[in-house]
Amino acid sequence: MAVQSHQAAVVEFDHVTKHYDTPTGRRKGGPTPGAVNDLSMTVPAGKICVLVGPSGCGKTTSLKMVNRLIEPTSGQIKIDGVDAATRELTELRRSIGYVIQQIGLFPHQTIGENVATVPRLLGWPKPRQRERSEELLAIVGLDPAKYRDRFPSQLSGGERQRVGVARALAADPPIMLMDEPFGAVDPIVRDRLQNEFLRLQEQIAKTIMFVTHDIDEAIKMGDLVAVFQTGGHLAQFGPPLEILAAPASEFVARFVGQDRGLKRLSLLRVSDVAMQAPVVARVGEPTADARQRASAAPNGYVLIVDGANRPLGWAAPDDLSGGDGVSAEMANPVSPLVNKRTTLKDALSMMLDADVQTGIVVDRTQSVLGLVTIEAVARKMREGEHSPAFDDLALLAAEEEEDADGVPVRADAGAADQAALEGA
């Protein structure tokens, strides 16, 4: 069902700073948790920008400054070029969809009434409120007839989360702010909600600012990712692949995780790597020819295919004996089949499971397009790879350090993190 949606706004942070004037802050002379320091970034219209970082890094504070639940100490936040501070407060908030982790559905109103909250505040005629409410419930996957007259206490966590999203979309706002919206449900439900939300966004294309502490969620959901570090500094801002391939600092590299290479693989597909051309032998061909080709092949095997060019399996020269021609029985079907849209992570996983070096790429009719190898994947992983400026060797050496009694001393991981956070 298509949702009528016309608007998405550009959100621009222009040297936005938030300081809390607390005794601790003043005494230490440094930034307080939740403070934001000179944040400048622009979220283009219709994109999902994920704000991610450790606790107290200012991501939620930044989000709440957009609808002015928190006011900036200095700097401007501009929506479509207009400073948010100059807009009338309640009018601003009614034009921004807001979803929080605990959702905050009103227990004393029905689901239908909850969803229609902002339209009601805006004075929409009752029939239109109801119509919109039902439309949105359907969009988020809840049968309106069933849910409209229920109360929040009667719904499960996942259902309530969907109602929260529906409620935020009700007045068709150009911007949506979401603060850990999928945090309060279990991983399976969360995965489903994330996927459905991404599908929804394909239709409605709103500007969305999304806060999470989970880097995997950030990479999955974001068109752009803003990594914050403690103290309210923006450590890096860019598309997920860039964050993964080229972390701007030690902090970002550590925050993203040691497995960032693998994480990148889940964003890349088979179509992104160069395929090898396979050495094939058709069923029915003379075995002598096939044997010759197999001995000459780079990996020492031929790929046996049928009349429709569908792969049947690998054959070594020794398998290609007998005078009757190549047959299906000679084929050893060990390699996994992938298609061009398969993620590299999945492809790699399949190859490792099968304990082979090669996967066979097929198209929709199952005919062979080419081969993808573990080596090609590894090469892709290293491509564009950038390590932030720190001395690998020095770190390794430190980790192997022994104390006076010859007992290896582990580098204090905590201290290294701290150093990264403060230095980067």
Partner: protein
């Protein structure tokens, strides 16, 4: 008791229905003003105390002290000052409601979860809209519970007013007169009627509570 006094003289009761009815009406008159004024004052104090957190302790202290004063003492002390009228009764009856109502009203407001208030603010409710459309409705269960407790308590305290010996004593008057004249029918009537009134009011409010909060009844059982 003089021998031969009947426990309950039915014929006397039937013959004095008008007197009994007058007392019942008087009893209502005794309680209605303190309750209404008490509700208004406590509501204002409660909204104030929730906004200005520091106010909660002093208000609780003052209303608590007022509540601790034994009712008879309060009535007796005021009588020479305010004379023999409903006012003498109304003033202490009102102050006795304050502690109960204030505590329950503030509990009601603070029982509203913070995330709901934040969601309401974030979506664009004005302060007043938030108070009237979100906080108040959700505070209602505890508010009604407080009014219920205050009503029932006031009905009971109003029976004591009569011991001062005035003509505005309500059902308590029946009790005191009955005791002073060793007439069981009278004091039993007064006592039982006041019990019925109090317990009846209690049950009425319980019913009211359930009526006003349909969402509380609709628990996950309906899924």
């Amino acid at each position: 008791m003089p021998p031969g006094t009947k426990l309950f003289d039915f014929s006397w009761t039937v013959g004095h229905l008008d007197q009994i009815w007058t007392r019942i009406i008087q009893h209502f008159q005794l309680i209605i003003v303190p309750l209404l004024i008490g509700i208004v004052i406590s509501l204002i104090l409660a909204v104030w105390a929730v906004r200005q957190r520091w106010a909660y302790a002093p208000v609780t202290l003052i209303t608590g002290i007022l509540y601790t004063i034994p009712s008879l003492a309060a009535f007796a002390v005021l009588r020479p000052i305010t004379g023999l009228s409903f006012i003498t009764a109304w003033i202490p009856l009102t102050t006795y409601t304050l502690l109960i109502l204030f505590r329950n009203f503030t509990a009601g407001f603070t029982s509203v979860p913070a995330d709901i208030l934040e969601a309401a603010e974030g979506m664009g409710y004005t302060r007043r809209q938030r108070l009237l459309r979100v906080e108040l409705p959700l505070a209602v269960p505890l508010i009604i519970a407080g009014i219920r407790l205050a009503s029932v308590t006031t009905i009971g305290l109003a029976t004591i007013v009569a011991v001062l010996g005035d003509q505005f004593g309500g059902l308590g008057q029946l009790i005191t007169e009955g005791i002073q004249t060793f007439f069981p029918t009278k004091y039993l009537l007064g006592a039982i009627l006041s019990v019925i009134l109090a317990v009846g009011a209690d049950m009425l409010f319980v019913r009211l509570e359930r009526l006003i909060t349909p969402w509380a009844r609709a628990r996950a059982g309906a899924r």
